[in-house]
């Protein structure tokens, strides 16, 4: 199991450069946002449409990067590992509506539990959350790779990263450092 905090590109600038909307709330980012040569190369994780349904059912409003005419395809990899969509959480949302962030991450957590219901053996997941830091206007990516049973306290982790309280590199589950 590993949790790592890494520097991330300026999401706002990158999305505008690609002709996409820069979100001010919570959004789902394409997996290859950093490396895509243009908008047509972008790919969402296969789990993206499902998470969008669940957020919609939970009355959570996503600030989508795609306009009504943009269609980003999804990539499906036939592996047992579940790859969650890459989330974006703005500093403004975290300070003004932390309940929405909790709701979004809880819905994701419940979805992951449901995905593995009835599975025997490995329950490995990979998930990434890009967080806008409050003070420095920089962006950091939290990456988790491990079992569903050791999924960290994502909400606390997002808060720590947003407030620049978490260093880059491998980090602990916030629950263990209390």
């Amino acid at each position: 199991m590993s949790i790592e905090v890494k520097p991330f590109i300026n999401v706002r600038e990158r999305l505008m450069q690609l002709g996409l909307h820069a979100p001010t709330g919570i959004a789902i980012l394409p997996r290859n946002l950093e490396s895509a040569s243009d908008k047509a190369d972008l790919l969402h994780e296969s789990s993206t449409p499902t998470l969008r349904i669940l957020w919609r059912q939970g009355s959570l409003k996503e600030d989508r990067i795609e306009g009504p005419d943009d269609m980003i395809p999804t990539i499906h990899e036939k592996q047992a590992t579940f790859i969650a969509p890459m989330l974006f959480i703005s500093a403004a949302l975290l300070s003004e509506n932390p309940a929405a962030v909790s709701l979004a991450l809880n819905i994701l957590g419940n979805y992951i539990t449901q995905v593995f219901k009835g599975d025997f053996g490995s329950k490995r997941i990979k998930l990434s959350i890009v967080v806008e830091a409050t003070s420095s206007s920089s962006y950091k990516k939290i990456e988790y790779d491990g079992d569903t049973n050791t999924l960290p306290d994502l909400i606390e982790l997002v808060r720590e990263v947003s407030n620049d309280r978490s260093r880059e590199g491998k980090v602990e589950d916030p629950r263990n450092s209390k």
């Binding site: 449409p49 349904i53 592996q79 490995r124």
Partner: protein
Amino acid sequence: MIDLEKVRSRTQEILSEGNKFCCLVRDAGFQKEHSQKLRAHKAELSKIKESCLDDDNSANEILALELMLDAQAHELDMWVALKEDHPADAWEHLVSAQDAVRGAVQAHEVAHNLAAYQQKLHIAEKLLFPPQLFFSVSVVVRESICSICNSPYGECDHIVGRPYFGKLCSRILKTSEVREISIVDDPANKSCRVLEIADGGITRDFLTWRPISRKTSEGEDTH
């Protein structure tokens, strides 16, 4: 009006009866006979399910029971295939049994207590078959629809893997392209595996290690 309690107990009775044939040394004749019995009962359940499609919970419970019957039938077929020296068929039956159990657990809580059975199938996989090489296919999907309502997937409220009116929702790919194929240890689909391997100039069946002979264009046998 369906007597669901009766359906449930009759299914459990058939499954308990079949359980005694679920091991290698039982006579293949009994195993085949019971596999047919399970499939016949499943066909009966399918008819019952058709009559209660407006009752989501009952239809989903029957779906779970159907999948439990399926799992045991495939397990019995696996034992028969092994005894008849058809290991590739045995593998497919094992994978189908595992998939059916997973589907049953997803379909309804009536199948909540299958953990021990899942473990049995997992042990059978590790004990009876050699370690396998699996393929994972990466596919870029531009258009997909929901198997429940045929709407573009994501526009309706159905969630892949969840049961609705006796059917598990799946995503039907309409426009897609294969991006890459890679070898993985832990695939989503265990049927997607290496079948043959070249070993010192000899092509061997990956499960049995037997050389595979092929006819050349001249009709000559070669390894």
